[in-house]
Symmetry: C2
Subunit: 362 residues, 2 copies
């Protein structure tokens, strides 16, 4: 039976780490005293196994635990439940990484389009993609449509909703989609609108239908709020749609973002991965960002690479440095810093786009 491997970083002293590792293996599998288990097959196959423990310094140990493939079934929610369900409640453990059996990766299948498909939609060559965000919350659909048109005339590739835009009275989802798509068509520019979906699976389906009807082919979702099972379902049901994944509620300090975004969101079908870039409003380090981007893009069991979208307080001044850091396999997302230009929004957007297009990618 092939195994799912979870890799935890555990704070412990050297004497205590072996029993602690075994306790995690039990917690994440049968969750009961092994002395109470009568079946040898369950002890052999279902109980989690500590495969390795290594001291990585600073009172932290890397613990590899093998979990039974059979406990997963085919559900993405159960996948995260087995990887970190109860252990997420224990402060001394971080879920650092995971290795998935090939058939699990094939089962979920990864992005429909990935970075290549997103470039093709934008008519872009092998350069970084550009993105901005519609905000603030509270604007009505017409105002959001006007903003979108101004971004579009600046030549931007993708325009996403702020993740706070849901289905509120001041800007209902359907009216917003209509207004933005109409404004984009009128602008004559080729920018793609990426509305943010929210609500239960019924609402998500209704919204994606409305969006497709309005001509949208790319949407944003919030996998940790909608639930991974519903994310996977929506991806499976909408083969023609590209998905941006937003990191909201990901509490990524306890699950490594490289794993959660770079592997799991990608495996479940995210084409683009929004995450907080280092040096912005969030505490991710350059190493975390580099690992995440690498993991999102690396060859992996034939599934498409997802495009990393570093964001969170980015500015035009940082474009050169960000492209030096990420190279061309990236989508740059600048929101608030463009909106600060107010009446000069289109010009500022054009400057953003020109800087990205003019960068020397080697």
């Amino acid at each position: 039976m092939s195994r799912l491997v979870a890799i935890y970083h555990v704070r412990s002293d050297a004497r205590a780490i072996e029993p602690r590792a075994k306790a995690i293996a039990v917690e994440q599998s049968v969750e009961m005293p092994l002395t109470a288990i009568e079946d040898q097959e369950i002890l052999d196959q279902i109980v989690g196994k500590v495969e390795a423990i290594s001291d990585i310094g600073n009172g932290t140990f890397a613990v590899r635990i093998g979990l039974s493939r059979a406990t997963l079934g085919h559900d993405a929610g159960q996948l995260i439940n087995m990887l970190f369900g109860n252990t997420s409640l224990q402060d001394d453990v971080v879920l650092r990484d995971a290795e998935f059996p090939d058939d699990v990766i094939a089962d979920f299948g990864g992005p429909h389009f990935g970075i290549a498909g997103l470039r093709e939609r934008a008519g872009a060559g092998p350069r970084a993609l550009t993105c901005s965000a519609l905000k603030p919350q509270g604007l009505n659909p017409a105002r959001l449509g006007d903003l979108a048109a101004r971004f579009a005339r600046g030549g931007i590739d993708y325009i996403k909703d702020d993740h706070g835009l849901a289905d509120q009275s001041y800007s209902p989802f359907a009216s917003r989609c209509e207004a933005v798509m109409q404004a984009l068509r009128a602008s004559g520019a080729g920018a793609r609108y990426v509305p943010s979906l929210s609500g239960d699976l019924d609402a998500l389906r209704a919204q994606i239908a409305v969006a497709k009807n309005a001509g949208v082919d790319t949407v944003m979702v919030q996998p940790m709020i909608m639930g991974l099972s519903n994310f996977a379902k929506l991806v499976r049901e909408n083969q023609g749609v590209a998905f941006f994944a937003h990191p909201t509620l990901a509490g990524a300090s306890r699950i490594s973002p490289q794993l959660l975004f770079g592997k799991i969101f990608r495996m479940l079908g995210a084409d683009a991965l929004v995450f907080p870039n280092h040096g912005g409003r969030f505490g991710y380090t350059p190493d975390t960002c580099r690992d995440l981007a690498h993991t999102a893009l690396v060859d992996w069991q034939g599934i498409r690479p997802a495009v990393p979208v570093p964001a969170g307080g980015m500015t035009i001044e940082r474009i050169g440095e960000m492209l030096d850091f990420y190279g061309s396999e990236v989508m740059l997302l600048i929101g608030g810093a463009l909106l600060e230009a107010r009446e000069r929004l289109t010009e500022e957007t054009a400057a953003f786009v020109a800087k990205v297009k003019g960068y020397r990618y080697d």
Copy 2:
């Protein structure tokens, strides 16, 4: 416009806390520089407002932030998005508490049954309720049914699935429900089976239909894995069903369990709240547990009290102490420690039940 109030605990030094608090208020509302907002109404109504900052010692500040009611709409996912979406990615902040506008509480409506209804189903007077768990994973439906019957003959009130039991090949949900309910009927005892639901909203609906069909009237869900919107939807659609909420993936070290379980899960409709008791396998303190239990039970806008279910490595030896601590308004859940009795499972269960029934509740 009435406001939702989020209360964060923020690690900061005294000089930095004011701008930090303002930054959180912006992050959790408009998520952009205020200088880029042209509309006075958005600045007045939609932007989060720092209502108070107080130094609570040890380099930590309690920050009250008022968030616009209008940004919530009526979706539970959007509720948690507004409370902690992006801020969950920032290490210096814990979501400690929240105060909800009355109409939000009324909108979700709380538990269908609560502690009184769960007692009534169990035919129990004003005493603590008893519960155990079917495990380990890997047992087939017949074996799980056999276990359930032995718990039932010991006189237990509720028998829940271990939260790792999903819809796996070795114990598909439908066969498990059938087998367990049949075994319980044959036992002649009155115990109630609480199967654990999993998967996307379609799967959850299919499972709840199967369960009802088999005679089940109480189910367990995993709100943080299924997504709060889907939890609220399922509750709304199943008025005759009581819901146990499991804490898996709740990463409760960053969201206070008193808020997440005691308030939010209760408001969305959980009748029973499973959580890790102090002194077991998890790190919750007695104070955390006391606060959580109090919050779950306290009079709150007319919604029913939910029963706290302290669990996670509990034993018969601890019953007296736990009842001293929690009083009668509690459900005690002992799983593995009963299963360790193996062939004496029914007798050990009967000892558990006798101790709970024989306790002097004053």
